[in-house]
Amino acid sequence: MSVPGPWYLALAAMLFTIGAVGLLIRRNVLVMFMCIELMLNAVNLTFVTYARLLDDIGGQSIVFFVLVVAAAEVVVGLGIIVSIFRRRTDATADDVSLLKG
């Protein structure tokens, strides 16, 4: 027996919400970054679920694109974070607000 589709969707929604809320309330840049990854993968899960439910390979192939983009994003994002921490040891996201209008 297999788990029915809506469960997967519910799990994905919960993961996405955790990611979104975490992004909004945490100040640690690394944690915020992980939240973004959580949200991306929640979406990936949704895609895969629908691919199975609707029997459409397109959903699965989109996931590969998302994975690639996420990997690239991780590289850039981590690069930025590392360079920020090089300048100051304990930075939060709110400390980096030089571009305010």
Binding site: A20, L23, L24, I25, A93, S97, L99, G101
Partner: protein, 662 residues
């Protein structure tokens, strides 16, 4: 020989180009000699063309020389060509002849000026424009010259633009002339709409079919142009102010040539005027009114050049009176003699100003006859000529005009007669004030001393002034800015033109003697107006009576001036009322009626520009700036704020989609 006509305007143009390129290097006085040589050359070519034209029969004395296609544009082709006929050659003869003399005179007069070469650049450009004006074969090419002389007039009036009065005078002349040019342009539009061409020969060939209304409209619009250029009422105001320019300019442009362009134009378009009798009457009335009006003002001016300026306005009025009476030959005759004697008078006045070290107030002159013999003798010839004393030139031409005016209307004749008397009076006043009487400049040289004060003890005796050397230092100092002041005669380059012009002013009447069948000028000009000229109908008795009355008026004017200014029978101030000194308050009137509303209108437009147009532009700028400064607070720099915004936005979009699909 007539084919050489293109050289006439080309030589001054060449001079203009050469002086423009090398004038500064040529310097003072060689630039002047180059310019003068060009004018003499143009005069000689004109003589050749004149001789060539004399060789033709009467009917063939109108040759058009095609130069080039000026504006080839599809169906419209405007050709540039020169029309050689008795009228244009007559004009070209005296423009180049008098012009050459005045160029020569300028060599001496402008000596030592900072912009010496530039003066001759303008002078040659003027001569070129004037010759294009008179030799053109179409209205459009005439208009080109017309605008050219206007521009040169502007340059030369404000030649000494460091003086604010000169700059203002130039501007005044330019603006006033625009009103006339506007009339000229409208006339050209109307002519082109009616005839489809602007060539003189084609227009005049087809003018028979012109309706009277159209003819009157064209004539009046062209007359408006002439009124502006020839300084007639009510657009004469620029000419007296134009005396701010150097004196040779006043002689050449504002007496002898440019201001007669209006009269020339009227004579040129006589086939159209002939169809518009109402316009002719108006021209005669305006001319007579201007003649009298300007003559009254001239009676009370103290500036030696202002008198001559108003006199010029007045004499131009005579010419228009002649045109209005249908006496085209008389108009041209007076134009030529006037060019001789008025150029002479202006150059003489320039010589006086030169000799008096830039003094122009006649009340500070007097007794100059002894000091400036050549100037005074030639000036006296000019005076007798303009006053109308027989047998000098002005007598014949003025008499010719007055007889024609008598046959047009005795009222016009009477105005002309009074003007003749006034002319004799104010010119005599000028001669007596400048060349005769006491040597008032001895007192005037001391600026502080009130007029009529006793000669102070510090003034040297006359004998000491005569030798000019070895004067006591105290006496020299008493003369203030004038230093060792002594009027002196001018150099030969200035004296020679005076002598030549004096000879012409004395003998110019021979061009067109009445009372004989030998009417040179009238017969010579016949191809221009044919049968359209007014033929005198009066008997010889009437002619003699009018002649005697005119001569009597001239002598009476001289006599009155003699009694007042040499015998002092009447106080001078009594005959120079303030209203005449201020030229009937014409400038004040114009200031009130034209300048003040114009200024108010401009102020209004400026306020509209400042408040409404600038207001709109600045308002939009202020709006964007205010909006931006509000909006920029949104950009906090906190990444989580943006994330909240993105999340909130996504939620809102989702809610909207759900609400729609529900």
């Amino acid at each position: 020989m007539v084919e050489a006509v293109w050289l006439i305007p080309a030589l001054p143009l060449l001079g203009f180009v050469v002086l423009l390129a090398f004038g500064r290097r040529l310097g003072d006085p060689r630039a002047g000699y180059v310019a003068t040589a060009m004018m003499v050359g143009a005069f000689l070519v004109t003589l050749v063309v004149f001789a060539g034209l004399l060789g033709e029969d009467g009917e063939h004395r109108s040759v058009t020389q095609h130069l080039f296609s000026w504006i080839p544009s599809g169906g419209l082709r405007v050709e540039a060509g020169l029309l050689v006929d008795p009228l244009s050659v007559t004009m070209a003869l005296f423009v180049t002849g008098v012009g050459a003399l005045i160029h020569l005179y300028s060599i001496g007069y402008m000596h030592g000026d900072e912009r010496y070469h530039q003066f001759f650049v303008y002078l040659n450009l003027f001569a070129f424009s004037m010759l294009v004006l008179v030799l053109a074969d179409s209205f459009l090419l005439t208009f080109l010259g017309w605008e050219g002389v206007g521009a040169c007039s502007y340059f030369l009036i404000s030649f000494w633009f460091e003086r604010p009065t000169a700059a203002v005078a130039g501007k005044k002349a330019f603006v006033t002339n625009r009103i006339g040019d506007f009339g000229f342009m409208l006339a050209m539009f109307l002519i082109f709409a009616t005839f489809g061409t602007l060539q003189y020969t084609e227009v005049f060939g087809a003018s028979e079919e012109l309706r009277e209304g159209t003819a009157t409209a064209i004539a009046l619009l062209l007359f408006l142009g002439a009124v502006g250029k020839s300084a007639q009422l009510p657009l004469y105001v620029w000419l007296p102010d134009a005396m701010e320019g150097p004196t040779p300019v006043s002689a050449l442009i504002h007496a002898a040539t440019m201001v007669t362009a209006g009269v020339f134009l009227m004579v040129r378009v006589n086939p159209i005027l002939d169809l518009a009798p109402d316009a002719l009457t108006l021209i005669a009335v305006v001319g007579a009114a201007t003649a009298l009006f300007a003559a009254t003002i001239a009676c009370a001016q103290n500036d030696i050049k202002k008198v001559l300026a108003y006199s010029t306005v007045s004499q131009l009025g005579y010419m228009f009176l002649a045109v209005g009476s249908g006496a085209y030959a008389a108009a041209i005759f007076h134009m030529v003699t006037h060019a001789f004697f008025k150029a002479l008078l202006f150059l003489g006045a320039g010589s006086v100003i030169h000799g008096m070290h830039d003094e122009q107030d006649m009340k500070r002159m007097g007794g100059l006859k002894k000091w400036m013999p050549i100037t005074s003798i030639t000036f006296i010839v000019g005076w007798l000529a303009i006053a109308g004393v027989p047998p000098f030139a002005g007598f014949w031409s003025k008499d010719d005009i007055l007889i024609n005016a008598w046959e047009k209307s005795p009222a016009l004749w009477l105005v002309g007669l009074v003007t003749a008397l006034l002319t004799a009076y104010y010119m005599s006043r000028q001669v007596f004030l400048v060349f005769y009487g006491g040597e008032r400049w001895r007192k005037a040289a001391q600026p502080e001393s009130p007029a009529g004060a006793k000669v102070g003890p510090e003034h040297e005796p006359v004998a000491a002034a005569a030798d000019g050397h070895g004067k006591p230092a105290a006496a020299a100092a008493a003369h203030g800015a004038h230093g060792d002041f002594k009027p002196h005669e001018s150099p030969w380059v200035m004296a020679l033109p005076l002598v030549v012009l004096a000879a012409l002013a004395a003998l110019g009447g021979l061009l067109n003697l009445p009372f004989s069948d030998y009417l040179h000028l009238e017969h010579w000009l016949e191809p221009v107006y044919g049968e359209r000229i007014h033929h005198l109908t009066s008997g010889s008795g009437t002619k003699w009576a009018l002649l005697l009355i005119t001569t009597g008026a001239a002598l009476a004017g001289i006599g009155i001036a003699y009694l007042i200014f040499l015998r002092h029978k009447v106080r001078e101030a009594a005959v120079e009322p303030r209203v005449l000194q201020r030229a009937w308050y014409a400038d004040e009137l114009y200031r009130g009626t034209v300048e003040a509303p114009g200024r108010a209108l401009s102020d209004g437009a400026a306020a509209f520009d400042r408040r409404v147009i600038d207001g709109a532009v600045n308002g939009i700028g202020a709006l964007v700036r205010a909006g931006g400064s509000r909006l920029r607070t949104v950009q906090t720099g906190f990444v989580r704020n943006y994330a909240l915004g993105v999340a909130g936005g996504a939620v809102a979009v989702l809610a909207y989609v759900l609400a729609r699909s529900a």
